[in-house]
């Protein structure tokens, strides 16, 4: 539907957008998010050619947008600017029908459009159509701004922080309205925000930008579970723990930084390690860090005097789980096996961490109380 290919832009020596490539599918709600000044608005304005890139190409439905007439292109792209920008000299109905009028729809058709759109957002036509923007509240103006973008049924709608000036209640209800409009009309939306909650609520896919580059492009769940950078993690902040318990994995419950020891190590070294850390078993790994098993102080006491290294004493009886395993299953295993901990392994069989009853309890507490 919408594809950026190696799009770059500089103002003087300052690089504003740096080799941006991404694709948004038809009917998706794509949300652009990132710190202030990272180039979100610039990216958005390139789609309707209010700003032209220095390099790269943008395709809409497979067509290079520079091949089309600018004015005509914009009439087929809905655009909601951050400051709303309703024309003060026009009534609500005239504002809504700006684009249909430019496209020379008949008067009756325009009336019909204004009527049905106003009803859709719960503003009765009779009461509001002939008011001027200055007679409407901020939230109402914002609604009209969105309707203006939808009036000529464009296949794609661009929105630049449309709710930033609203109180939380109005904001919430408008978000829901936009979401349901988008689903009902099955349009492609590109939505700019700096509010992660809004992004998580609305997005089919989130594009996280920083300093003119895409840091991560992923659906909300994936961004929550695998944020690509510390910065994204900061943006996700409290939401990162707000996932539903069903989606939690072993990785969410484990304790990291566990003590491991190589299989070739001597008995004495291991004993002193255990004493220092006050533990009764050690996790044994090979030279690549892959899990081999565990060695316990009881076994060392029993047969430690006949062997030099711990290798012969390694047991593979301790239960292991994969980092991506369901947390509830891990919990059940920990209880039923009677083991004092589970070893959590990554895809390559390396040790990621361990789950103990204590680590499980503290992770649960965090889920509950944040």
């Amino acid at each position: 539907m919408l594809r950026f290919e190696h799009v770059s832009l500089s103002y003087g020596s300052q690089k504003i957008l740096d080799d941006l490539s991404f694709e948004i599918q038809e009917g998706q709600m794509a949300v652009l998010i990132g710190p202030s000044g990272c180039g979100k608005t610039t990216t958005l304005k390139m789609i309707n050619r209010l700003i032209e890139p220095d390099q790269g190409k943008i395709y809409l439905n497979g067509e290079d947008i520079t091949a089309k007439d600018k004015v005509d292109l914009r009439r087929h792209i809905g655009y909601v600017i951050q400051q709303i920008g309703l024309f003060p000299n026009m009534t609500v109905a005239q504002n809504i029908c700006v684009v249909p009028t430019l496209l020379k729809y008949s008067k009756e058709e325009c009336d019909r459009i204004a009527r049905s759109l106003l009803e859709m957002v719960g503003l009765p036509y009779e009461q509001y159509a002939h008011k001027y923007p200055s007679e409407m509240s901020g939230g109402q103006q914002q609604r009209i701004g969105i309707l203006r973008a939808l009036a000529a049924s464009p296949p794609i709608v661009l929105m630049d922080e449309p709710f930033s000036a609203l109180d939380p209640m109005t904001r919430r209800s408008l978000q829901q309205e936009v979401r349901s409009l988008q689903q009902k009309l099955n349009k492609t939306f590109v939505f700019v925000t700096h509010d992660m909650e809004e992004a998580l609520d609305l997005a089919d896919v989130i594009i996280f930008m920083d300093r003119g580059k895409i840091v991560q492009m992923a659906p909300p769940e994936e961004m929550l579970s695998h944020p690509a950078s510390g910065q994204i993690q900061d943006f996700l902040g409290k939401f990162i723990h707000a996932q539903s318990p069903k989606e939690l994995t072993a990785a969410d419950f484990m304790r990291t930084g566990v003590l491991t020891v190589a299989a070739g190590r001597g008995i004495n070294e291991c004993v002193s390690k255990m004493q220092r850390r006050n533990v009764d078993t050690l996790i044994v790994v090979d030279d690549q860090g892959r899990y081999q098993g565990t060695v316990s102080i009881a076994d060392i006491r029993l047969t430690g005097h006949v062997v030099k290294t711990i290798e012969p004493l390694v047991r593979c009886s301790n239960p292991t789980v994969q980092a991506g395993d369901n947390a509830k299953d891990c919990f059940d295993l920990l209880i039923s096996s009677g083991a004092s901990y589970l070893v959590v392994l990554d895809d390559e069989g390396k040790v990621d961490g361990i789950i103990t009853k204590t680590s499980m309890a503290s992770a649960m507490a965090e889920q509950l109380w944040g």
């Binding site: 209010l50 914009r74 003060p88 000299n89 200055s134």
Partner: protein, 208 residues
């Protein structure tokens, strides 16, 4: 010179005023639009114009007289140019002060530059433009007195005759109708202001 010639003088005065303001309106609005599209050029042109504006009318009419001779055209050219200044300045100021958000919204909706000007910028600048028209009208009524200086009639005839013969009565016979004319024309422009300013802008609040 007396009561019998007053109606004719008043009519001449009115005609000079209306014709000059009409010229000023056309020139002022079109030059104002043209300059507002070229910010770099207007940075040079506007200061030059305002210097020009300070040349006293009497000097200007004198100069024009040398070129064009004693005829009504001389008066119309001089007054027309003077009537242009306030309208040009206000048109320019009104257009450049239109909030950028409306222009961006207009562009984003797919208006051509011309549609943006006609449907958004000019309506939003209208209160300022008509303010300029009002100034221009009131000034022109008094400047039109200069017509008498080159023998083209108008209320100036009474004033000059009164001054040269030291007859205050004659001066007032010219000055009072001129003041009343200025008042009436000014009120007509105010009425126009009410009619031509888009409704949404009248209540104050939003707008330019």
């Amino acid at each position: 010179m007396g009561w019998s010639t007053l109606p004719l003088a008043l009519a001449q005065h009115l005609m000079f005023t209306l014709a000059s303001v009409a010229i000023g309106l056309v020139l002022g609005v079109s030059l104002g639009i043209a300059l507002s599209r070229r910010p770099k050029l207007s940075g040079v042109v506007l200061p030059i114009l305002s210097v020009f504006n300070t040349i006293p009318g009497i000097v200007f009419v004198g100069l024009l007289l040398l070129v064009l001779g004693m005829q009504p055209v001389t008066v119309l050219v001089a007054l027309g140019i003077y009537a242009t200044f306030p309208i040009l300045k206000n048109t320019y100021a009104g257009l450049v002060s239109v909030d950028q958000q409306y222009i961006e919204a207009a562009k984003g909706c797919g208006m051509s530059p011309r549609q943006c000007l006609l449907r958004v910028e000019l309506p939003l600048a209208m209160p300022t433009i008509i303010g300029g028209l009002r100034m221009s009208t009131v000034y022109t009524v008094s400047w039109a007195v200069l017509a008498a200086m080159i023998g083209q009639g108008g209320l100036g005839d009474f004033i000059y005759a009164g001054i040269s013969s030291n007859d205050n009565g004659l001066i007032l016979m010219g000055a009072i109708p001129a003041a009343i004319l200025a008042f009436i024309l000014g009120s007509l422009v105010d009425l126009l202001q009410k009619l031509a300013v888009p409704k949404g802008l009248r209540k104050g609040g939003s707008g330019v």
